[in-house]
Symmetry: C2
Subunit: 282 residues, 2 copies
């Protein structure tokens, strides 16, 4: 059973509130923590929500502490929800070798089909269904949703949007793992979560989903050119090729000198917030 959110912390921020909550997730079969930024406008009535999906090793805290998003979110009147990046806690299995790129902190925003992962590793279902239902029931937010994320979370944002036409009004990504079925991080995770049949991986790969998308929501993607993961793991050129082939609108911005860190995200988060606000409030 999904339980109501229990508040863990609250910090006033730019006239609004950063709040952290814990709740029981029925989908994931464990307690989960998420953060929400509520802008000042939420005191007067429901505001739209941007869902932010973080990358490998992160929790809800990285984005809220490091992206510097609250200033403009407060100005634009947008809430931001940041979930964790995997199920956690007693009974949730992690990487057998203790690696940081699989298991805990590395849920890859999919629904696992294989043992021992299928019981808990259902971050897609959690992010698309359970968490928004919880947030919309307990906070002053509307059902106007959009989604963004970084790295593994950029992959998650693209996949969630592409698989759910009409559910998100905007989507963007920072340095997404754009083609996970063809990079080492994705191959490791997908083989374990989804099994050996590579054909089944394609429903969790933005580059494969683009072709059959029934909604052509424009993609805003920022990618640092000095990102150490660019060539091997992120593969934005595959995303560009898929979008070109399908006629899917893509604004892929290659940013000279920028790396994979939150210094990169902070530098361009305002552009993404304005991209989302135009769709959420417009």
């Amino acid at each position: 059973m999904t339980t109501a959110p229990e508040q863990l912390a609250a910090n006033r921020s730019f006239g609004g509130w950063h709040r952290r909550f814990r709740h029981r997730s029925a989908v994931l079969g464990c307690d989960m923590v998420f953060a929400i930024y509520l802008p000042p406008q939420a005191e007067a009535g429901p505001v739209p929500v941007l869902y932010w999906l973080s990358g490998l090793t992160c929790t809800d805290e990285n984005f809220m502490q490091k992206a510097g998003a609250q200033r403009l979110a407060a100005e634009l009147g947008i809430a931001i929800v940041a979930p964790d990046t995997s199920p956690r806690g007693t009974g949730v299995p992690g990487d057998p070798d203790g690696a940081w790129d699989f298991g805990l902190g590395a849920g890859f925003y999919l629904d696992a089909t294989e043992e021992p992962w299928r019981r808990h590793y259902r971050m897609y279902d959690y992010v698309v269904e359970e968490l928004p239902a919880l947030v919309e029931a307990h906070f002053p937010v509307s059902d106007a949703r959009s989604i963004s994320g970084h790295s593994m979370g950029g992959h998650g944002a693209l996949v969630c949007a592409l698989k759910n036409p009409g559910r998100y009004r905007a989507v963007s990504a920072f340095a997404p793992i754009a083609n996970p079925s063809a990079c080492p991080w994705g191959e490791k995770a997908f083989a374990r979560y989804l099994g050996a049949d590579r054909a089944r991986w394609l429903e969790w790969d933005a580059c494969a989903l683009i072709a059959g998308a029934t909604e052509r929501l424009p993609l805003l993607v920022d990618q640092g050119e000095a990102d150490g993961f660019l060539a091997e793991q992120l593969r934005p050129e595959a995303l560009r090729a898929a979008c070109t082939a399908a006629g899917h609108p893509l604004n892929l911005r290659l940013q000279p000198g920028y790396d994979h860190s939150y210094y990169f995200i902070a530098s361009f988060i305002d552009d993404h917030l304005r991209h989302h606000a135009a769709a959420l409030r417009g």
Copy 2:
């Protein structure tokens, strides 16, 4: 001997660079790490510098990652230097009980006179003399300096400015330990670093220094009203009384609902940057 800074990391940020360096500190007798944010304008010539002093337990990283200062610093053309909060490393003694409010991460920006602290715990000398000399010799910055900080670092900023007329063009603080000789954090630290004679503590206490200041540099101070340390440790009312008595200009802003965290700092850092920029560039 002070050695030249050796770069540990570099991240492009808002068109400028966040860089971390290690160097040998002659003053502190250990290796020290600091961070510098260089705005885009630094590529064309020297820019003024804001020195940021962090609070208990922090390193150079907290401010650079969490305050969201780079966006406006890049616009205003100001460099920011963030030193560590104490000497560190082999041979540097810490709190005998392993507490977080004394010793490592808690240098209190003073020059210790007592054993075993006096050899290494000279953060005042480091921040006022050695570090600016190093920074001005190795980076495209001018000798236009200002200083700010948080909590223990707010105390440090006020003390450094009050003791050095003409050296800083502006000063500000977030939730400073305004009257350290009369609060538990300060009493613990000053008794150990400076000895039992409380009269000698007063040269490291902003409230005591205000009376004899020969330069009336206006103080901008933000203090959250929901700060859990407000009444016992921070004592802004003592600073207000000292400024009133001495005719020292003080803009003390009590911010309803804000706590002691970086969410508070981020919410008001832009006002402080503009305060510093007006003096540094004007």
